[in-house]
Symmetry: C2
Subunit: 214 residues, 2 copies
């Protein structure tokens, strides 16, 4: 009566994983379904038992990635009350995350960005919403900065702008690392990066750079 039973969820993950590999190597647009199938060691048709379309695989990969990241960040933030320490942890976690799965994340991130950029704001794209993710991220960091300012630890910078710049710098560094892993690797620049970025928060100098020189 009961037939062959396989773990559907496990197979779905397998396919997503294979897709991530192919996506990161070729880019989503150039990744063929047959490539994904081969990478997963299954037939092309089988993919369609688990996903409706290539788009759906892409969405699944996207969501998996960010919910994972989100969990890690929230876990880590429990560890300390010190705002500076929190920022250091966020930066560390974010940078380290990019090395996950042999840097697969990296290549695909490009396509997430591309997709995010070209998504019209009005259209509610119910699956992928990179903008929303960025907003959460921004809120998280600006909240910490505000906390630091209130506690008198940080200089009174604009928390939102600072958050935006922190995220920007992280993304950009990420981009550099993807592009030139030999020249710029995480271990080398992580500390300098953290120092450079956060120095401005502690530096109490009254005369600003722009005001001083211009």
């Amino acid at each position: 009566m009961s037939p062959k039973i396989i773990d559907k969820d496990a197979k779905k993950k397998l396919i997503v994983q294979a897709a991530m590999q192919v996506f990161s190597q070729k880019g989503v647009a150039k990744a063929k379904m047959i490539d994904i199938a081969k990478a997963a060691g299954i037939g092309k048709g089988t993919i369609y038992e688990y996903f409706r379309s290539k788009e759906e695989i892409f969405n699944e990969a996207f969501n998996a990635m960010f919910s994972d990241m989100d969990t890690m960040l929230n876990d880590v933030l429990q560890d300390t009350e010190d705002p500076m320490q929190k920022l250091i942890l966020i930066i560390g976690i974010t940078l380290d995350y990019h090395e996950k799965d042999g840097g697969e994340f990296a290549g695909v991130m490009m396509d997430f960005w591309a997709e995010g950029i070209r998504t019209k704001n009005e259209e509610v794209l119910n699956t992928i919403n990179l903008k929303q993710i960025y907003e959460q991220y921004r809120t998280m960091i600006s909240q910490i900065v505000r906390e630091g300012i209130e506690k008198g630890i940080f200089k009174a910078v604009d928390p939102t702008a600072f958050a935006a710049i922190t995220i920007a710098a992280l993304d950009g560094l990420f981009l550099q690392i993807i592009m030139e892993p030999n020249i710029i690797n995480i271990k080398n620049v992580k500390d300098t990066f953290t120092e450079t970025l956060l120095a401005g928060l502690l530096c109490k100098k009254e005369d600003t750079i722009l005001g001083g020189t211009k």
Copy 2:
């Protein structure tokens, strides 16, 4: 004897411009030749009178963009001897450049990055070489930082790492601006950005952030 004569170069530029528009809206992969033709107000076949392939248009756009940027930067750097001022100018120019042609540059940059990332290091891609461009950029900035340190104006940071981070931050901010022009626009964050990034260079504090807290 003499036939219809038109300005081939002008038309080439027209096509590149139209292509840039379409590329930035749809992405290079999804941009159809017919879209480019329509945007340029010409027939599809005509494009092939001026370019061999879509790839060639992409390359042309890429080169035009960066040689333009390069010229602007070199011009501006003549204006001052002060290292801090030089850095401020570089940041300003780079950020402003992204608003050129109604932000068209922005969308296409995504594809340049994607292309750059997926270009194998070994293969000499004779037309597009984003990595080389980044190297020049990095050299330029690290040179200025080195200058500043020698003159005793800057703290003794690692010039190369600082250059990498500056470029990273610029790229990342750029990415943010593309994604959320309403929230993060250049005029709003330019100053905070410059302040935040360059603060670390002047701040003479001996105890480092990482050393102090960890």
